[in-house]
């Protein structure tokens, strides 16, 4: 048994567990929470293409969630277009906006880039709040759009139970992880990595860093927008302050940084820690001691960063590797997926 086979079998085991969860866990409450967990993991993985590999800190990604959510919702409400189609349209729109944002901002570094993306995100939200109709499209300004929960079915991307949503977001998540994995191994991935760490050096070697970053940004915003459609169909109501909020942009970035940015497992680990902390502390303290759940959330953020500034992914990977060593040296028949998951 080699390291590789163990890795593969661990991954397969993980996939089987993920697909099997709804068979065991019947409670819609927990499925709902897990759906949101996957949703955030998905967003963060998409964010990671820019925020992780390209070495900058975008803090305006909720704008793309909003563009995706609004596009599919407006198209389905006004023209009866299936949200699945609207999802793709929204993705392309977001991709274009992503390039437009990326063109000027990628010249900046560090804090400037972070603040510029905040301004972009907030600017797009303020625009949406000011516009009632966009040409023939009725986006209703700050009042938002509610989706009547009447026409359920796969084509309408609307279901009465949680399981379909669960599988949809799970497949999306697996897809985006595979995509990221593929990108990180590609030439583009190397370019991005080089550009993120030493842009001058990379440029002198003839790597077109700016172009690589733009491509990453376009892909990232496209993928992010797809999740926007999921969000709209999942909660059935969107308005600028929910799908384009700064809170959402921050949360995406935090999950990545807590998990370990620039790694494949980071976003998932981050979501696995932060989402439950956020949900369960709200459930248990939200009513009796208002605000305490956010204090707990803040404390977890600080503690993880103090003890593990590079995110959780690094030490967990080390332990996993040590464990593998041990298994390979000794009796080579143990299963080793647990620590990693």
């Amino acid at each position: 048994m080699t390291r590789k086979t163990i890795n593969t079998s661990a991954l397969i085991l993980l996939g089987v567990v993920a697909f099997g969860i709804p068979l065991v866990l019947r409670s819609p409450t927990y499925l709902h929470i897990i759906c949101l967990l996957f949703f955030y993991a998905y967003l963060t993985t998409s964010w990671n293409l820019v925020g992780g590999f390209a070495g900058v800190l975008p803090l305006g990604h909720s704008a793309f969630v909003g563009i995706g959510a609004y596009t599919s919702t407006v198209l389905s409400l006004q023209y009866g277009v299936s949200p699945w189609l609207g999802m793709i349209v929204g993705g392309f729109l977001a991709g274009i906006v992503g390039i437009l944002i990326g063109l000027p901002t990628f010249k900046m570094r560090g804090a400037y880039f972070a603040l510029a993306t905040i301004a972009f995100g907030e600017g797009i939200r303020v625009m949406f709040e000011n516009i009632e109709t966009l040409g023939p499209l009725n986006i209703r300004g700050p009042r938002g759009l509610e989706i009547p929960p009447t026409h359920t079915g796969f084509v309408n991307f609307m279901f009465n139970t949680k399981e379909p949503y669960y599988y949809i977001i799970l497949v999306m998540l697996i897809g985006v992880i595979a995509f990221t994995y593929f990108i990180s191994r590609s030439k583009l991935g190397y370019f991005l990595n080089a550009g993120g760490e030493e842009p001058e050096a990379a440029m002198s070697l003839g790597v077109n860093v700016a172009r690589a970053k733009l491509i990453a940004m376009a892909m990232s915003s496209f993928l992010t927008a797809l999740a926007g459609t999921f969000y709209a169909q999942f909660t059935l109501y969107i308005y600028p302050k929910s799908v384009m909020s700064l809170d959402l942009s921050f949360e995406i970035a935090f999950i990545a940084l807590i998990g370990g940015r620039g790694s494949i497992a980071g976003p998932i680990l981050g979501a696995l820690l932060l989402r439950p902390v956020s949900d369960f502390s709200r459930i248990y303290f939200g009513s009796s001691l208002p605000g305490l759940h956010l204090i707990i959330f803040g404390t977890v953020l600080i503690l993880v960063m103090i003890f593990q500034p590079r995110g959780l992914q690094e030490p967990l990977l080390k332990v996993y590797n040590k464990l593998l060593d041990r298994i390979l040296q000794q009796a080579p028949q143990g299963k080793a997926g647990h620590e990693y998951s």
Binding site: K107, L294, M305, I306
Partner: protein, 295 residues
């Protein structure tokens, strides 16, 4: 015409108060090279300190500075020393440790919600203060007196901070650290002590800005959030780390907020602020008064 002039004056006064809130942010950034996301919460904490100081002693709001400034200085000093320093130690080799953003955001959540837990969600205002609602009548123009005080305070504070950084020994040490951490350390400057002091000074300035707000503003646990993004925009507009830039950036924002609504709704004026911010970033990414090497 009078309305226009009145709007301009109001914009300058309110804007300089925005600038004053941002001044604290820019001082901290100048030295530590990190954005302090807990900035709004520090304004909120300062406002509560000022509120209680004024309520209990019944003094003129500006006399509360005697209490607010030292309290906030030490609050900032120890916040940096206890919570943020460990990150700097762990990430010595990174110039702009992004993780600090998360830590300061954690501080923001904790401070805002701790205030909510302790003081409740009520809105408070100081009824009996000699500045409340006072207006200066010039011709047909009305200028808010507490905002005028804010303008004067902002200018004095900016000048004082500038003088402090240029002329005093500590100030020069702070500047040296902000220019080159390693070189400053080699010169025998204790980098982390300087960080603490800079954070303390930045927070104390935030405290001053809170005192200028308290006479005409209301106080509640999430009040800081309103000033948060505004502060970020101002410091980038003026140039991160630039003292004059923060005040001027603030005045520009104040002027837009004050004049633009004459031609459109106030909600569009908000959009103009973001628009102008982005234009400046594209034309001059280092901000109006920023130093080029910093971006």
């Amino acid at each position: 015409m009078e309305f226009f002039l009145e709007s301009i004056l109001n914009g300058i006064c309110m804007g300089s108060i925005y600038g004053l809130t941002a001044l604290g942010l820019t001082v901290i950034f100048g030295v530590l090279k990190v954005i302090n996301f807990a900035h709004g919460s520090l304004i909120m904490v300062s406002m509560y300190v000022a509120y209680w100081a004024i309520i209990y002693t019944g003094v003129h709001p500006y006399v509360a500075l005697i209490i607010v400034v030292p309290v906030m200085y030490f609050f900032g000093y120890y916040l940096q020393d206890i919570v943020i320093k460990p990150i700097f130690k762990a990430e010595k080799d990174v110039r702009e440790p992004i993780t600090v953003i998360i830590v300061t955001t954690g501080v923001w959540y904790i401070l805002d919600n701790l205030t909510l837990l302790i003081f409740g969600p009520q809105y408070r205002g100081i009824q009996n203060n000699p500045l409340r609602g006072k207006m200066l009548d010039i011709g047909n123009m009305l200028i808010s007196v507490p905002k005028l005080w804010g303008f004067v305070t902002a200018v004095i504070t900016a000048a004082a901070v500038y003088w402090f950084l240029q002329k005093t020994r500590t100030g020069r040490a702070i500047r040296a650290t902000s220019l080159d951490r390693e070189a400053a350390s080699l010169m025998g400057i204790n980098q982390f002590k300087i960080y603490n002091i800079a954070f303390g000074i930045g927070t104390a300035i935030v405290g001053i800005s809170a005192v200028t707000l308290v006479p005409f503003y209301n106080i509640f646990p999430s009040v800081g959030v309103l000033f948060d993004i505004k502060g970020f925009i101002i410091v980038v507009l003026g140039g991160l780390g630039s003292i004059g830039g923060a005040i001027i950036g603030g005045i520009i924002i104040g002027l837009i907020e004050s004049i633009a609504p004459m031609f459109m709704t106030a909600t569009w004026a908000e959009a103009i602020v973001y628009g102008l911010f982005l234009v400046v970033l594209f034309v001059k990414p280092s901000g109006l008064f920023g130093v080029k090497y910093d971006w």
